[in-house]
Amino acid sequence: MDAKGRGLSETVWTRMDRKAGAITELTIRQLRHRLSTWVVLAVGALVMTLLLAFYVDAIRDDFEPVDNDGDSVDWDQDGYPLGQENKYGTSDWDGQEYPGSGHYVMTGEVEWNDDLRYHSGNHTWEGQGHFDAEWLDLDYTGTRWSGIVDWEGATPCPDGEVFEDWWPDWGYACTYDDESYFVSGKFRASGAVNVPEEAYMQWGHMTLETYVEPEPASMYVDEDGILWDGEDISEIYVESNCQPYGSVYICNGFEVDDDGDCLVEMNDDNNNGIPCDVIWVLDADRDEIVDIRADYNVNEDIEEGKYQGESSHRTFIIGTGKMAFVMMLGIFIPLFLALGLVRDETENGTLHYLLSKPIHRAEFITYRLLGYLLLAGTYILVLVLLMALVTSLIGPGDSLIRLSDFPVWLGIGLATFLVLAAYGALYNTLGLIAPKYGVYFCIILGIWEFIMGLFTMTMPSASVPMLSISHWALQLIDAIVLIAWPDTLQYTQIATAFGIDSGLPFFWQPPVHTFGTQSPVAAILVSVTVLIFITLAMIGIGQSSFKNREIM
């Protein structure tokens, strides 16, 4: 650069830059020389390390898939899980009935009202009567699980008339002196039967048994997969199925009941006239699922292994971002670092050195805050990047590093930074206005902010939390998450729609301040604007209070 260029560069602005540089540098060095700074930063780092330890612990074990509909269980212990028995229409409550098992076909009967109460033949029988046997199938196991006649245990029949003097048990046989029987239950035999008027008897045959390979229980753990990965939401929109409703589209008749447990006993839980379907509610752009309403037993058994891993990972990041970064670091760092930025200088008497220089008091406040923000912001950035690196390396997924996590972490960093700016300006101003009791106001405010933050997470559209700073930062995180991971919306919808255990719906809800556009970009703009406005307003109040203050 030539001498002329150098001369031009010497302007009011460069002089201001130098002053700003000097004050910010002084501020950073002052903060660095204070023990409390290091303590609060170390506590923050410690909390993050603890959270990471919990995260690693949780993510290290694979997430166990859960059989939500219980059809992987073999209730009757016949070797076939409920799901397979449902497919074959056999009962899972009867061990004798299973896919491929023969079933009973009735060919005739003597019932209570019949006049003819005699029949003979080679049949499979069920009922009660005097039986004169030619042949008995002693190995008969029947198809029903109760009442197989136990020929081996037959005892002499009691004296007197049956149904008058004694009552036979079901599955019982007794012998008369003439070697005929009285039977009660199911049996296979050839012979003649005489049915008393108080009893009935039916007969028929069993169909042939075929062998059906039992399917493994694991097939029925994740069998009702649903569209959860968000890769082809646009395919959901089919004109014939989707009707516009207000600003959203309601799409009926989707998804198949893969395991047929809805089709067995059809229901229309979502009241759209189509049994066993899922309603997808799409947003105006048809690229986001806004709501999922499923009929009972449809899509209930999703692939949790994958789902839980991903949703736990996101829950951790969002939860850490909101609770640890915004609500803890965001509130505590300014309390220790920003409250005394200008107040302490006044109290220490060191302010005289600075104010005897040609620097405006308003400028001074701004540069002090700038110095504080540089220090706190660098700290947050480092912390966020470390967290991002660790979680993206060990997080779920096939790729070595989850790059899509970084925008979210950086967004959390941005939200925390803006919160640090807003609280910093607020606390600094409070310290100026009320040097003695400012700290109590700040603590009360901190509690208020924390409670409002919790309300924001549970009821984001409530209006009272809008009076807090944390509300806007949390909204900002919500919006950034929606941009970086658009399918987070689906994750929460799935968790809510199918009752899956997940913290995601608590920690994340779609941003509300979008002026009705549902656009996360609008929400980001609104939140950032509000946070910057609060910061500037607080700086302004602090400046005007400080400007007119007499300094003893």
Binding site: T14, R15, M16, R18, K19, G21, A22, I23, E25, L26, R29, Q30, H33, N348, G349, T350, H352, Y353, L354, L355, S356, K357, P358, I359, H360, E550, I551, M552
Partner: protein, 312 residues
């Protein structure tokens, strides 16, 4: 800015804190040379300086630095160096660091600031300790660092609030010579003190404040001359007070002697300068060994007493 504008112009300024009066209807113009602002503690010296430095806003009247109101504008501080009475500093900084950091607030680059800081630290005689932390400095060194920071931008007006307060004699001497040097460079220097002797060794031009009012203004010797007409005491500590007394009693300016204590002689006079003029001759002639000469009345309190009309 016109050269006719005085560095300091105070016009009927009053400042009070609730019921307590800090400065009461003070009018003052100072430009060039070293001016001592004298007054006991609580006379309003610091209030006056804080008005000048824009820390306080006058309740009445006006205060101008180079024609500009320091309460509303920081512009005059480009030409002003201020040494506050505050004892607190950034103890963790080195002297060089402290001065250079504050120099940057004048818009200097880091290099310019360091060069200027080294220069002024050398000027106040601290170049050998400039890389030590201020926390390890002696009282006198701290005062000199404060003076250095006020000089770093080569100001036209330097305001020093009690710069000698609490310093040991050696530091006091070196600070005084720094201030005299500044005066000889043609700068306007305003220095406050509550000790007459300190100011007397630096300057003749004084302003006396008492209870917030401007009591006297002008040449110290002229004020002193007024005082000479009042009874004064000179206290001598010597071997043989009585024989010395007999020598003195015959001299014209002396009108009485007393022996307040063993080995002490008190001479009473109503012309202090004349008495001091004959003093060496009489002592030499008498051959008595005199170990100390004190002027118990030659202090600010008695000066104020005379000025306010009390006859002490």
């Amino acid at each position: 800015m016109s050269d006719n504008t005085p560095a300091v112009l105070i016009d009927q300024a009053s400042k009070w804190y609730g019921e307590v009066i800090g400065i009461n209807d003070v009018s003052l113009a100072i430009d060039g040379g070293v001016t001592g602002v004298l007054g006991p503690n609580g006379a309003g010296k610091s209030t006056l300086f804080k008005l000048l430095m824009g820390r306080l806003k006058p309740n009445q009247g006006s205060v101008r630095l180079f024609g500009v109101d320091p309460w509303t504008s920081t512009a005059p501080y480009r030409r002003v160096g201020y040494v506050s009475e505050s004892e607190r500093m950034y103890d963790w900084m080195t002297g060089l660091d402290f001065v250079a950091t504050l120099a940057r607030l004048h818009g200097m680059t880091r290099e310019e600031a360091t060069a200027r800081a080294e220069h002024v630290l050398d000027f106040v005689g601290l170049s050998d300790v400039q890389n030590k932390e201020i926390g390890k400095y002696s009282k006198g060194m701290r005062q000199r660092v404060k003076i250095a920071h006020a000089l770093v931008h080569d100001p036209d007006l330097i305001i020093l609030d009690e710069p000698l307060h609490g310093c040991d004699p050696i530091a006091r001497t070196s600070i005084m010579s720094v201030i005299r040097e500044l005066g000889s460079q043609g700068k306007t220097v305003i220095i406050s003190s509550h000790i007459l002797e300190e100011i007397e060794r630096i300057t003749e031009q004084i302003v006396i404040l008492h209870n917030g009012r401007l009591l006297a203004l002008g040449n110290l010797h002229a004020i002193r001359a007024l005082l000479d007409k009042h009874p004064h005491r000179i206290l001598l500590t010597c071997d043989d007070p009585r024989s010395l007394a007999s020598q003195f009693i015959s001299e014209d300016p002396v009108y009485g002697v007393r022996f307040p204590e063993e080995g002490q002689l008190e001479i009473q006079t109503n012309n202090l300068s004349a008495a001091h003029a004959i003093l060496p001759r009489v002592i030499v002639d008498s051959g008595t060994a005199v170990s100390a000469i004190e002027n118990p009345d030659d202090n600010l309190e008695s000066l104020l007493g005379y000025l306010t009309g009390g006859d002490s």
